[in-house]
């Protein structure tokens, strides 16, 4: 008996190409040299790497502030990614134990490396395949827009400065507090009009040890430096503890060191670093006392709720003020706050709008004008932009964000280039496709 022979037709040729491949064989010397660098497969690989980097940097913000993560992951050449945050991820989404410890970390290329390689890959691809015709115009626009964007982010990363200016109502200010940078300032008054200030930037404080300098009236030993701290009303019995200070409201508050603020926390609080210093008479072992200073004690700190009197020490008949504060930068202009308004939605305390009526005075530029700064309506002056950012407790003053970013226009250019490029490129394809279908 012969069984029917089963005939099996060859599989359908399923993977037909419907789009012209971009990579065409080219034989020029340049093409051969740049070939691997310009490869689209490299692009895909770099995309995968950037996806991993962006994802990890998101998880990292569970345990560190946004600012720290940006520095570690993007404005860096490589980063050590801790496994612990995947344990946390797994706890949230897969319900594994919340106290699981996954120790160790793995290295990963940072933002400068991946971004740089993407840029090289893109430029090389265009160097090889550069051809100016209508069909490629869209691609060219998209990619040049992306180059502009990456350069914009590079310039912003290197040169942009963010700062805050706090002004009580009816008062003026001519300096800003540079965000994320701090300093220890020791001040003494020379006469009625002049103070002498010596500052130690936190880059030196973080190194620890004893700081000696002829400008300093004392030797400063950094006993402890903390990236973040919290403040709370002192519990009974703690009123006289070393880390407790009495505020202007007469109550005692204690500062405690804590881990960094989380970037994923929607409250978005800034870190409040703290430093413990011991002062000595210059070039001697004679201690003058220990001070625990936190940004919470600093009057212009944007999260501050309570005011503290200044901390003093005496030496050789002179009184010095010692303060840990944001890095202070003086401006050639003065802002006077005339009025501050804080509107809420009816029957709630949800803010509806903030606005500051200010007078800008800049003798050098001959500017003396009144203007209003409010949500989405910043003031631009001398290449800096002043935004409404926050307010004092009890609405007694305004906090302006002062930003200098030489590249601020580039994203606008980039966005237009890329979007128009995509509309052009995809539109061309769509039109062609609809024509083939006979629809248009």
């Amino acid at each position: 008996m012969v069984k029917a022979i089963e005939t099996r037709p060859a599989p359908v040729a399923v993977e037909e190409r419907f789009d012209e491949p971009l990579e065409r064989p080219q034989k020029s010397a340049l093409a051969r040299a740049l070939g691997p660098v310009a490869s689209l497969r490299l692009t895909v690989l770099l995309f995968v790497l950037s996806l991993v980097l962006v994802f990890c940097s998101t998880l990292a913000q569970m345990n560190a502030s946004n600012w720290t993560v940006v520095k570690d992951y993007y404005r860096s050449f490589y980063v050590w990614v801790p496994f612990q945050m995947f344990a946390q991820f797994s706890h949230i989404f897969f319900g594994t134990k919340h106290d699981a410890v996954w120790s160790g970390s793995f290295p990963f290329p940072g933002g400068w490396v991946i971004g740089g390689l993407l840029l090289v890959n893109l430029l090389a691809a265009h160097a090889i395949r550069f051809k100016l015709n209508w069909k490629r115009a869209g691609i060219l626009m998209i990619h040049s827009g992306l180059v502009v964007m990456m350069l914009g982010e590079l310039v912003a990363g290197l040169f942009a400065v963010e700062a805050k200016m706090s002004i009580p109502v009816g008062d003026s200010s001519n300096y800003v507090d540079v965000s994320h940078k701090n300093e220890l300032a020791i001040t003494t008054s020379l006469d009625d009009k002049k103070d002498q200030v010596v500052v130690i930037p936190d880059s030196i404080l973080k190194k620890g040890g004893i700081i000696r300098n002829e400008l300093l009236p004392v030797d400063v030993e950094v006993v402890e430096y903390a990236d973040n701290s919290d403040i709370a009303v002192a519990k009974p019995g703690e009123e006289n503890a070393a880390d407790t200070r009495v505020a202007d409201d007469g109550r005692a508050y204690k500062v405690v060191v804590k881990e960094e603020e989380s970037g994923t926390d929607t409250n978005g609080r800034d870190n409040a670093p703290a430093v413990r210093v011991r002062l000595y008479k210059r070039a001697s072992e004679e201690a003058l006392g220990t001070h625990f200073l936190s940004l919470w004690h600093y009057a212009d700190f944007s999260n501050r709720m309570i005011r503290f009197p200044a901390e003093h020490f005496d030496l050789d008949g002179k009184t010095y003020t010692i303060e840990f504060r944001r890095l202070r930068e003086y401006k050639p202009y003065t802002i006077h706050l005339k009025e501050f308004h804080h509107d809420v939605f009816i029957g709630t305390d949800k803010p509806r709008n903030f606005s500051s009526q200010v007078q800008l005075v800049d003798p050098e530029h001959g500017a003396d004008r009144e203007t209003k700064i409010w949500m989405n309506h910043p003031l631009r002056h001398r290449g800096e932009t002043l935004y409404q950012s926050g307010y004092f407790p009890d609405d007694r003053g305004t906090i302006l964000q002062v930003v200098r970013n030489p590249a601020w226009l580039l994203p606008y250019l980039s966005c237009s280039l890329v979007s128009l490029g995509m509309i052009f490129h995809f539109g061309q394809h769509l039109l062609g496709f609809l024509q083939r279908k006979g629809i248009v």
């Binding site: 037709p9 599989p11 359908v12 399923v14 993977e15 037909e16 419907f18 789009d19 491949p21 971009l22 990579e23 490869s39 689209l40 497969r41 895909v44 995309f47 995968v48 996806l51 962006v54 998101t58 913000q61 569970m62 946004n66 992951y73 946390q88 706890h91 949230i92 989404f93 919340h98 914009g152 982010e153 942009a160 963010e162 994923t264 926390d265 929607t266 939605f345 009816i346 029957g347 709630t348 803010p351 509806r352 709008n353 903030f354 949500m375 989405n376 910043p378 935004y387 950012s389 601020w408 994203p411 980039s414 979007s419 995509m422 995809f426 394809h429 769509l430 496709f433 609809l434 006979g438």
Partner: protein, 583 residues
């Protein structure tokens, strides 16, 4: 074409329209009884905006009872406004509110603590039933409050939840939590309790407050005609003072009553069933019917979106709930356009699935309160913000649409012989085209977000979790396109990558919000995290199925179906191909 085939779609669509009109026309309050519906249209201020009593009632009843209606002692279903009226008058001598079984308690420990029987199917209890244990409840609440938020156990959380529901109720009962009494032109509102106590202190008569109080008193005294007359008078008074607010409140009451999103969901389910049956038999008429029903549903959803924009005065996306509604709207529009181009019935199927699923998600997101909540100042209306959210949400939408077509591609290919050459080609064209569209929208939307941030606080890009989420979608879409162009993947690979796009979008939409929950994640929306995990698991399953070698796919293992006649008129080609595939 038989008569039945020709007229079936008209008949079905006509029935749907008749149904919708009948829902839209609200029956008048029965004569001689309290015109509760009339009362429910009166404007009040709550949560920072003017809304009708109806919305206030629905939101609060939803919060404590998880429903927008309640069952009275006679077992009759009653509107939320009735419960609100009874609650308002509870301290004026109306005993009804205390007896309404509206407090939803599902935790057995809490029930045992209160000495209540489990009531399967209802789980709802009246204040009168809780009152005997009020003192011990108070103790338990203060104990739970003393524990740090992240360390509380389930019982403590549920006790606090109940306490919060009771305080909502008490606020309404005391007439001091809702701003009901407008000043002369509606610029300042007071609660009734406050207005009355001010009147007692100053001696100056507040006519509006008196009128409101009078309405509540006639309700307690059971004088329907008097009540109806006073409500009418009060309404006229407000119409003179603030015609716009009254009009808006009227419109919102109609919106609530019509429940447009619920009607849409019904139509999607119905159209989906038609698509599925249409797949098996009676193809043409059922597919046409499904298409037109979906078009009607889309029309309603469009109207509802515009209505919400009118009520709120904001762009369509302001919170997670509205993002779900908007994503559904975008997905439907896109899928219906594709149906017009490809005419294969499959696009309608995808449209109904996406429409239904997003409605379901929106329904679950709505439970937390007023879906038309007011926005923080930074999120206040601004051109860049409005274009950003719209654009980026449409980007999410397109990514999902591509992903669902990819799932269809994989399932049809692996499990059925239906994925013939033509369908294979048109589905992969759809996936490719939609991914292109998604790249455009998600990129532009993300960058517009940066521009808005630059306008608002001078930082174009901050790498915060939400921004990163949007960026992941952009990069993923770009990756799909470049992988396709470089030849790393072909049609099947692109479909698998598009399914992964669903996972990436799910992460951006819901995942990044979950991270703030931190180490002790019994979070307030723990459910979302679980939902996302389940979604990921399903998508991963599709990816794995998609990775099965193509020789094992049913569609490719079998003989090639007969090529359709190339001379066939446009549109019929795909359909005859489908017919061929089934034979």
């Amino acid at each position: 074409m038989s008569t039945l085939e020709r007229y079936f779609p008209f008949g079905a669509v006509g029935l749907a329209v008749i149904y919708l009109v009948s829902v839209a026309i609200s029956p008048a309050d029965p004569a001689g009884q309290f015109r509760v519906r009339e009362f429910s249209r009166l404007p009040v201020v709550d949560g920072g905006r003017v809304k009708p009593m109806d919305t206030l009632a629905r939101i609060n009843l939803m919060l404590i009872s998880n429903r927008q209606t309640f069952t009275d002692e006679q077992g009759k279903s009653q509107p939320a406004a009735r419960w609100l009226l009874d609650t308002f008058t509870s301290r004026l001598g109306n005993p009804a509110a205390e007896k309404h079984k509206v407090f939803r308690i599902e935790n057995d420990q809490v029930l045992a603590f209160l000495g209540l029987e489990e009531r399967p199917g209802s789980l709802r209890y009246s204040l009168a039933e809780i009152t005997p244990k009020m003192d011990s409840l108070r103790d338990a609440v203060s104990k739970a409050q003393a524990v740090d938020g992240k360390q509380r156990d389930l019982f403590q959380k549920k006790i606090l939840e109940l306490a919060q529901h009771l305080s909502i109720y008490l606020g309404l009962e005391r007439l001091d939590s809702v701003l009901m009494v407008p000043s002369a032109h509606g610029e300042d509102w007071k609660s009734l309790a406050q207005a009355m106590s001010e009147e007692r202190q100053t001696g100056a008569e507040n006519a509006t407050a008196r009128a409101l109080a009078q309405i509540l008193l006639t309700y307690v005294e059971n004088k329907p005609e008097e009540f109806n007359r006073l409500v009418g008078q009060y309404r006229d008074r407000l119409t003179q003072q603030m015609p716009e607010d009254v009009e808006r409140a009227d419109f919102e009451t109609f919106f609530n009553h019509f429940e447009p999103f619920y009607q849409c969901s019904l139509l999607y389910v119905f159209a989906f069933v038609l698509c599925c049956i249409g797949w098996a038999t009676f193809t043409g008429p059922l597919n046409r019917t499904a298409f037109w029903l979906t078009v009607i549903a889309l029309g309603i959803q469009t109207w509802a979106l515009c209505a919400r924009m009118y009520l709120q005065g904001r762009p369509p996306v302001t919170n997670l709930y509205s993002s779900a509604v908007f994503i559904g709207w975008g997905a439907l529009t896109l899928a219906l356009i594709l149906e017009v181009i490809f005419r294969n019935g499959l696009c309608t199927l995808v449209a109904t699935v996406l429409g239904g699923v997003t409605m379901l998600i929106a329904h679950h997101l709505a439970g937390t309160g007023d879906t038309l909540e007011m926005m923080q100042a930074v999120l206040d209306t601004n051109f860049w913000l409005a274009t950003h959210v719209t654009c980026v949400t449409l980007g999410y939408t397109a990514t999902f649409v591509a992903g669902f077509f990819a799932i269809l591609f994989i399932l049809l290919g692996v499990a059925t012989p239906a994925l013939n050459r033509d369908l294979f080609k048109s589905l992969s064209q759809i996936i490719y085209g939609v991914v292109c569209f998604a790249t455009l929208l998600s990129f532009t939307g993300t960058v517009l977000g940066g521009i808005w941030a630059d306008q608002s606080w001078g930082r174009f890009w901050g790498w915060d979790p939400k921004e990163n989420g949007a960026l992941l979608i952009v990069i993923w879409n770009a990756l799909i396109l470049h992988a396709r162009w470089s030849g790393l993947v072909k049609q099947r690979g692109m479909a698998v990558l598009a399914v992964v796009g669903n996972m990436v979008t799910g992460w951006s939409w819901f995942g990044t919000n979950q991270l703030s929950v931190g180490l002790h994640a019994y979070g307030f929306n723990d459910q979302l995290a679980k939902g996302l995990t389940v979604f990921w698991a399903t998508q991963l399953a599709f990816v794995i199925v998609g990775l099965v070698p193509t020789e094992k796919w049913r569609s490719f293992g079998r003989a090639e179906p007969p090529r359709p006649d190339n001379g066939a008129p446009r549109g019929s080609r795909e359909r005859s191909a489908l017919a061929g595939a089934r034979s």
